[in-house]
Amino acid sequence: MSILVGTDTKLCVSGITGREGTFHTLNNRRYGTDVVSGVTPGKGGQDVEGIPVFNTFRDAVAQTGANTAMIFVPPRFAADSILEAEDAGIALIVAITEGIPAHDELRVYNHLARTRPASPAGTGNPPVRLVGPNCPGILSPGRANVGIIPASFFKEGNVGVVSRSGTLTYQIGNELAQRGFGNSSIVGIGGDPVPGTSFIDVIAAFEADPETELIVMAGEIGGSSEEEAAQYIAEHVSKPVVAYIAGFTAPPGKTMGHAGAIVSGTAGTARAKQEALQACGVRVGQTPTEVAAIVAEGAAGSG
C-alpha cells in the first residue's frame, strides 16, 4: 500500500507541452506512473511522445479516465488550472508551480473546502484534494511518481515522509536510505502560506495505511501547521512520529526562500514548533542525520 498515488493513479498533466512539463511528465512515465493525458488549451489533438493532449480537463477526463492532475503551468495560470481540474471531477490535484499569488491560493482553498465531499468513514478528515502548490509532488516508491522528486534515491519500505520542502526531503530520505530504510510514500506539501494539504491530512492518511509503520515529518518556520499537527498526533496517531524543523537561525521578518517561511514577531519560530511537538510526545531530530538515527533506534526498539 501507499497513500495518494499508486498503481490506480491515472495522471493528466496541465502544461504538458511546456519544457519543464514535458521533461517531468516523461520522467514520471518512465518510472511507471500511468500518464494518460495532458491539457494545453489550443493544442488539443496533439500528443507528447504518444500521450494525448486535450484543450480542457473535461475532455481529458471524459476520454482518458484521468483521476489525478499535475499542475505545471506558470503562476498566473495555475489557480485557474486547479479550479478547472476540480470542476472536471479530478480527485487529486498536485500543484508543482511556485510563486502563485497568495490571494489566488486563498480563493482556491476556500472553494475546494466548500466542494469537498463528506469525510470518509473512520478518519474524521476530509479526503486530500489539492497537494501543494509549490511542492515537489508525491512519490510512492515502486508504484508511482507524480512530480519532481528524484526517485532513484528512494526505495520501497515502511517509513512515510511528509515535508514542506523538496530538497530537505531528499536529504532526509537519503539519510534514511543509507540506514536501509525505504518509504511507503513521500509527500511534499509545499512551502506556500496556504497549502491545500496540511501535515494533519497526510499524517492521518499514513496512520490509516497498513504499510506505513513510522512517520517522519519535516517542517520549517512560519505559520502554525506543525503545532496543529503536534496536537493531532497526541490525540489520534498510534504510530511513532519523528520530526525535524528547519530554520532555527532564521531572523524574524525575513522570508527564507519559501513564501510561507517567515517568523513574524514570536509566531512561527522553529523553537516553538519543536517544543510543541516534544510536548506531544514527538521526538525531534536536531539535524537530518539525527532524524535518521532516531528512526533507526525506533525500528530497533519495536523490532
Partner: protein, 402 residues
C-alpha cells in the same frame, strides 16, 4: 513588499478610504512648497519602513512656514533605527476627537482574511491584545463571500465605537477590505484611524504589505519598492534572480531549495559557526547562476569561508561544479570553499572539481562533515585576516575580472 506610509495612503485613497490631504517631498524646498499649498498648521512626517518614528523625532507639527522649513531640514537625512530618511510626507493637521485601530491580515492558520477593530488606537496593538484581549473585535471573512455590511456593523458594535460614527467606521472598513483584495495585500493596518472633531472618520497612518508573488498583476505597485532601505547585497541578489537574505555571521552559504538551505544554516550554527547569508540557488540552477551567486556571497566582506551544500534533484551537480570553476576563473576568491555534492550527476560534478584542482576548495561527503569543516576554516581565516595585510585589508583581495 512593505510600503511607506504615504504610498499606503495613496493606495487607500484610490479605493475611497478617507485620508488627510498631503504631498511627498524629498527636499526642504519641496516640503515647504507642499506646506504652503496645504496651509498651516501641517505635519511633517518621516517616511521610513520602521516603527517608532514619533519617539525618534521624525513626526513634527509645523505652525507656520518657518517651522515647516526647520522640521523638514531636521527630519530629511535623519537616521531612525538604522533607516535614513530620504522622504517626508507633508500632511494637513487633523483635529482628533478619538483614535481607533483597524487592520486586515491574511490569516494563514484560518485561511481567511481577519478583520480587527478596536477603540484603543494610537498605541502598540500587541500591548492592547495582551492587556485586554476583549478590547479588539475580530472577524474572519469568507473570501468567496466578501466583506458585508453586517460584518462592519458587528465589528463596530462589538468594539464599542461611538454610535454616531458606526456608519463611518463601517464604510471605511468596507473600503479597506476592497483595497486589501484588489491590491492583493498580506496586511493593511490603520493605526490610528481617527474620528475628527467634526465626526468624520479617516486613516491617519497606513501600513501596507503587498504580496510579492502578485506584483506582476500590479505593475504600478511594483515600482514602489523602497530601494533606499534595501541592503546592497540583497538588491544585487534580487536583480540576479537569486533568493538571498543577509545575516550577521562569516560563513557564506549556498544551497538548493529553501528547506535544505535553512537546514544548512542550522547545522552550521550547531557546529559552532555563524552563517553570513541564506542563499537558495533554486531548482535547476545553471552554471552561470552559480557563478553569479558566488559573486553575491563574496560581495559581503564579512565572509571568511563558503559552504556549498547541494542535494541535486532537478539541480545537476555537474552544473554546480562548472559554475564554481567558472567563478574561480572570474573572481579568484581568496577564501576557502567547502563543497558537498550529492544527488543528480554527483559523480560527474565531483570529478569536474577534482580535475580542476581549485586552490583552497575542500570536498566533503556529508552535510554534517561539510558544516564542521567550513566552521573550522572560517575560524582560522578570521584569525588570519585580523592580522594587518597591507592595502588588501578593506577588500581582502577580492577583485572582479575584466
Amino acid at each position: 513588499m512593505d510600503l511607506l506610509e504615504y504610498q499606503g495612503k495613496q493606495l487607500f485613497a484610490r479605493h475611497g478610504v478617507p485620508v488627510p490631504k498631503g504631498a511627498p517631498a524629498s527636499t526642504v524646498e519641496q516640503a515647504v512648497a507642499a506646506a504652503d499649498e496645504l496651509g498651516y498648521p501641517c505635519v511633517i512626517k518621516a517616511q521610513v519602513l520602521i516603527g517608532g518614528r514619533g519617539k525618534a523625532g521624525g513626526i513634527k507639527l509645523a505652525a507656520d512656514r518657518a517651522a515647516a522649513e526647520e522640521h523638514a531640514r531636521a527630519i530629511l537625512g535623519m537616521d531612525i533605527r538604522g533607516f535614513t530618511v530620504h522622504e517626508v510626507w507633508v500632511e494637513e493637521a487633523s483635529d482628533i476627537a478619538a483614535e481607533y485601530y483597524a487592520s486586515i491580515v491574511f490569516d494563514r492558520a484560518a485561511k481567511r482574511p481577519l478583520v480587527m477593530l478596536s477603540t484603543h488606537g494610537g498605541m502598540d496593538i500587541e500591548e492592547v491584545a495582551e492587556r485586554d484581549p476583549q478590547a479588539i473585535a475580530k472577524l474572519h471573512v469568507d473570501p468567496l463571500l466578501g466583506f458585508q455590511d453586517f460584518h462592519a456593523r458587528r465589528l463596530a458594535f462589538d468594539a464599542g465605537v461611538d454610535s454616531d460614527v458606526v456608519r463611518g467606521v463601517g464604510a471605511l472598513l468596507a473600503r479597506l477590505y476592497a483595497a486589501f483584495v484588489a491590491e492583493e495585500a498580506m496586511l493593511v493596518e490603520v493605526n490610528p484611524m481617527i474620528v475628527t472633531t467634526d465626526r468624520a472618520v479617516a486613516a491617519l497612518d497606513a501600513k501596507v504589505t503587498l504580496d510579492d508573488n502578485a506584483l506582476f498583476r500590479h505593475p504600478a505597485n511594483a515600482q514602489l519598492r523602497d530601494l533606499s532601505g534595501e541592503d546592497p547585497q540583497e538588491r544585487m541578489a534580487r536583480e540576479r534572480g537569486l533568493t538571498y537574505v543577509k545575516l550577521d555571521g562569516n560563513v557564506g552559504i549556498l544551497g538548493n531549495g529553501a528547506g535544505l538551505v535553512m537546514s544548512t544554516l542550522d547545522v552550521v550554527a550547531q557546529a559552532g559557526g555563524s552563517p553570513a547569508n541564506f542563499l537558495d540557488a533554486g531548482g535547476g540552477a545553471k552554471a552561470e547562476e552559480i557563478t553569479s551567486a558566488v559573486e553575491v556571497i563574496l560581495s559581503n566582506v564579512a565572509v571568511t569561508a563558503v559552504l556549498f551544500n547541494i542535494f541535486g534533484g532537478i539541480t545537476r551537480c555537474d552544473e554546480v561544479a562548472t559554475g564554481l570553476i567558472e567563478a574561480f576563473a572570474q573572481i579568484e576568491p581568496d577564501v576557502p570553499f567547502v563543497v558537498r555534492l550529492d544527488g543528480t550527476n554527483d559523480k560527474e560534478g565531483r570529478a569536474l572539481l577534482a580535475a580542476a584542482n581549485l586552490p583552497n576548495v575542500h570536498a566533503e561527503a556529508t552535510m554534517l562533515g561539510a558544516a564542521k569543516k567550513v566552521v573550522e576554516l572560517a575560524a582560522s581565516e578570521a584569525v588570519t585576516s585580523a592580522e594587518p595585510s597591507g592595502d588588501e585589508a578593506a577588500g581582502r583581495g577580492r577583485r572582479e575580472a575584466g
